[in-house]
């Protein structure tokens, strides 16, 4: 009878109201900008919809890329649903993310890639490190890339956003 001394605990956050099956993860942003000279907080660059991963050195959020993903040690990716470009994010540079278990419409995909590649059911991965599309969804191009989700039945909406289905634990 040592239950009261156990350090075990379930620390899951309550789900986002619009992603009830999603694992919510809150991350500090890597190298956030300092408060402005006038005293006003400075917005960061992580926007809602960006694919993020954790810097292994300190667990802070950085834009996700497929470069560091290897099959024997798959990368953990999350979708940012509240970035640090808005007031509350600029204040604390802490972003709210969801790992999976949701359907979303996002403009954070590489629009320079032909729309035909974003057909319903198409597998999605994330851009490469240091490129113009890190943090953005792109169509899967190789067997070694991580899977970030699949294009949903609506494909590209009329407003230009991408319909994305993100099951839980979809990475490989």
């Amino acid at each position: 009878m040592t239950d009261l001394n156990s350090l075990f605990d379930i620390v899951t956050r309550d789900p986002h109201p619009n992603a009830l099956a999603g694992l919510m993860v809150i991350l500090d942003v890597k190298n956030p900008p300092a408060v402005g000279a006038g005293g006003t907080p400075t917005p960061g660059t992580i926007e809602r919809g960006h694919v993020l991963m954790m810097d292994p050195a300190d667990g802070r959020a950085i834009l996700g890329d497929s470069t560091g993903h290897i099959a024997t040690d798959p990368q953990f990716y999350v979708y940012c649903v509240d970035g640090d470009t808005d007031y509350d994010g600029a204040l604390m540079h802490r972003v709210t993310c969801i790992e999976g278990g949701m359907q979303l419409k996002t403009d954070k995909y590489d629009t320079t890639i032909a729309a035909v590649n974003y057909h319903p059911g198409a597998s999605l991965t994330v851009g490469t490190a240091g490129g113009s599309n890190d943090g953005l969804l792109i169509p899967l191009t190789g067997a070694t890339e991580p899977i970030l989700g699949w294009v949903g039945p609506d494909g590209i909406h009329s407003d230009g956003t991408l319909d994305v289905l993100v099951p839980q634990g979809r990475s490989r």
């Binding site: 005293g39 006003t40 007031y87």
Partner: protein, 306 residues
């Protein structure tokens, strides 16, 4: 309701309080249970967040917040004093015209929330400790810590950006503090309060009678350092939070009153306890919405002790 609850407490055992707490929830009086604890929480928070002694929190209403066309998040824009000067001229001369403009800065808001405490009501009944103490220990102090943590980061960012101009190095003695205060005055910033950890404040015990006088030395010997609230006339805010504020540092800040030379701390909502029960499971957590900022970056001086 809150007062009625408070009066009952001293005569009740902790088990009774927990049972009473659970009964109120069972009877649907969730708001009453929340009110009783909320009143207690506000008292504790004022006492325990050091930043609230430096930046006095001020409630802000819906009518006072500023809107933005790009977001529905609130902010508060604060006007700053426009700079000005005068010129000595001949009788036929005039002062220069100026199309004056006052700078501004904005306070953004965020939410601090405690862990969401969940417990089965029958397990809760088995606790002999006061449920209100659990609430205050586990949520209010944590939230106060977050306020202090944010303030500490804010101050550190400003000091770092000042590239040494707002840092004074030296031992814990009058010459060091004097130099720090003189630095503030040289920037035409008034001196308001000093902040340091209680751990560091105890170094004042070592001030000899030859420096501070027989009376002060005697008082420190008889009553301890706690009896002293000022050093060289400067009010000192002490905190036990050496896990947030570096005990090898102290900070001097300009005052907020009668004129605000420092910054702002606004509360959209002060600490509030939320309780809900679903069948036999009770959940409670605390949250608050606040924003703080330093509009006058030169209004502080950091002292670094060896």
């Amino acid at each position: 309701m809150g007062n009625e609850y408070q009066v009952e407490v001293p005569e009740a055992t902790a088990q009774f309080i927990n049972r009473s707490f659970v009964q109120k929830l069972d009877e649907g009086r969730v708001k009453e249970a929340a009110d009783a604890s909320t009143a207690f929480i506000r008292e504790k928070l004022r006492q325990e967040a050091a930043v609230r002694e430096i930046l006095a929190p001020e409630g802000i209403s819906e009518e006072e917040i500023d809107r933005d066309e790009n977001t529905d998040q609130p902010k508060k824009i604060i006007d700053k004093e426009p700079d000005s000067y005068a010129t000595y001229v001949q009788f036929q001369g005039t002062g220069p015209r100026t199309w004056f403009k006052g700078p501004r800065y904005a306070i953004y808001f965020g939410k601090i929330e405690s862990q969401r405490f969940t417990k089965n009501k029958w397990e809760l009944m088995s606790y002999t400790s006061d449920i209100r103490k659990i609430l205050s220990d586990n949520s209010v102090k944590d939230m106060a810590d977050e306020e202090d943590r944010y303030f500490n980061h804010l101050v550190a960012d400003i000091i770092t950006a000042a590239a040494g101009a707002q840092t004074t190095n030296g031992p814990f003695q009058s010459a060091t503090f004097k130099s720090a205060m003189q630095s503030m005055l040289s920037r035409r910033r008034p001196i308001g309060k000093m902040l340091m950890t209680k751990e560091r404040y105890f170094d004042a015990i070592d001030f000899p009678a030859t420096t501070v006088g027989d009376n002060v030395a005697q008082r420190h010997f008889d009553e301890g350092i706690e009896a002293t609230e000022k050093l060289w006339g400067l009010p000192v805010v002490t905190t036990i939070k050496s896990y947030i504020y570096d005990p090898n540092k102290a900070w001097i800040f300009s005052p907020q009153k009668p004129n605000n030379f420092l910054g702002n701390f606004y509360l959209l909502q002060d600490a509030t306890l939320f309780i809900k029960q679903e069948a036999d499971v009770i959940m409670f957590w605390s949250y608050e919405a606040l924003g703080m900022g330093i509009g006058n970056r030169q209004s502080m001086q950091e002292i670094v002790f060896p």
